[in-house]
């Protein structure tokens, strides 16, 4: 037993621990998700976060130690954002043709979501720093962190809010679309995908890709557009809200 404790102490201190744990847990939950016929309630991101978070708390391991290994995965978010140029390029014909309409939908959807979150937070009496951290929640986590920093929010909280918004969109998307009667034909899938990418970034897009290829392509397009749009309007908005 002493040997086991020693081994565990050694392993849990190396970056290998956080990296392996993240991949292992994610691979297992993804397998369960696939096995279940991709039920939105078995979202692998959600359960990986819950399982890893609970394990760290239970084992009394500091997050920093976990992150020393998990940062190698986290780091890939930067190149992943750059690689969004690829789905945008693939859809360049539609993008050129419907440019202003897609910009308008992405901008209005993203801005209404952000402003309603900010307004509701102030209405419920939450501290200002939390309200500001809610604004970039529709943008993919690394960009949300940078934007939160710029406008005076808390980057780590902004990342958590962005991940949660992604999960909520992935979980409730189908219900909302059925409720507002979006069709399940090509143009309906286009709208579902675009809306999920706009409001729920990479996590919503990951869900859309699994449900329908047309929805997936437009979710990728919307997520890339939202990154660019939000990076432009969120700093301006903060100036306006403070004026």
């Amino acid at each position: 037993m002493a040997d086991f404790v020693e081994l565990w102490t050694y392993l849990s201190a190396t970056p290998l621990f956080g990296l392996t744990a993240t991949l292992l847990v994610y691979v297992v939950f993804t397998a369960i998700y696939q096995e279940s016929g991709q039920s939105p309630w078995l979202n692998p991101v959600l359960w990986s976060i819950v399982a890893l978070g609970a394990a760290l708390l239970w084992l009394d391991l500091p997050y920093q130690r976990y992150f020393s290994g998990a940062q190698f995965i986290h780091f890939l978010l930067g190149p992943a954002v750059v690689s969004l140029a690829w789905p945008l390029w693939q859809r360049r014909a539609e993008l050129r043709r419907y440019f202003w309409r897609l910009i308008a939908a992405g901008f209005l959807g993203g801005a209404v979501s952000a402003l309603s979150a900010y307004g509701l937070a102030r209405l419920l009496g939450l501290p200002e720093s939390i309200a500001w951290s809610l604004i970039p929640k529709s943008v993919t986590a690394p960009v949300a962190m940078g934007l939160a920093q710029t406008i005076g929010g808390i980057p780590e909280l902004a990342a958590v809010f962005a991940v949660l918004s992604g999960l909520i969109g992935a979980l409730l998307g189908r219900m909302v679309f059925t409720w507002i009667r979006v069709s399940q034909q090509t143009e309906g899938w286009t709208r579902r995908g675009f809306a999920l990418g706009t409001v729920s970034h990479g996590i919503g897009a990951a869900r859309a890709i699994q449900v329908n290829p047309q929805a997936g392509a437009y979710a990728g397009l919307a997520l890339a557009l939202q990154v660019v749009l939000a990076s432009l309007w969120i700093p301006l908005l903060s100036v306006w809200l403070r004026a």
């Binding site: 994610y26 962190m145 909520i168």
Partner: protein, 123 residues
């Protein structure tokens, strides 16, 4: 090799983006500038082939990349636990509203356009 060169290209464009982000008086994050620079470069078949080899893999597993930062929620539990229901209410409300508005704007703007007509023939 294709994917390896593709990954190197992604990093180079990110580096370029981060460098420009420091110099330019814009608030755009470095990777976003990298994205905007990569877009026109994709006209080159050589670059496209290599970027596609890595981008498809990276984007297909995009949701994994959110796990490390998501686990970070545990260091903010002291802030979040006392206001958890407000946060949940805000996030659910604003996310659903955002979905509805986006779909609504698309429906209004594409009403009766060639986009819908073209698709009706398939559907």
């Amino acid at each position: 090799m294709l994917a390896l060169i593709g990954f190197t290209l992604l990093l180079l464009f990110q580096v370029l983006g981060e460098a420009l982000a420091l110099v330019l008086p814009l608030n755009l994050p470095g990777p976003v500038i990298g994205l905007l620079l990569l877009w026109p470069a994709l006209k080159s078949h050589w670059i496209r082939e290599r970027i596609a080899a890595v981008a498809d893999f990276l984007l297909a597993n995009l949701s994994l990349l959110f796990v490390p930062v998501g686990v970070g929620v545990i260091i903010h539990l002291d802030v979040l636990v006392p206001i958890w229901w407000q946060i949940l209410l805000i996030l659910v409300f604003s996310t659903v509203l955002g979905l509805v508005v986006t779909v609504g704007v698309l429906a209004a703007l594409f009403k009766g356009s060639d986009h819908d007509k073209g698709n009706d023939q398939h559907g």
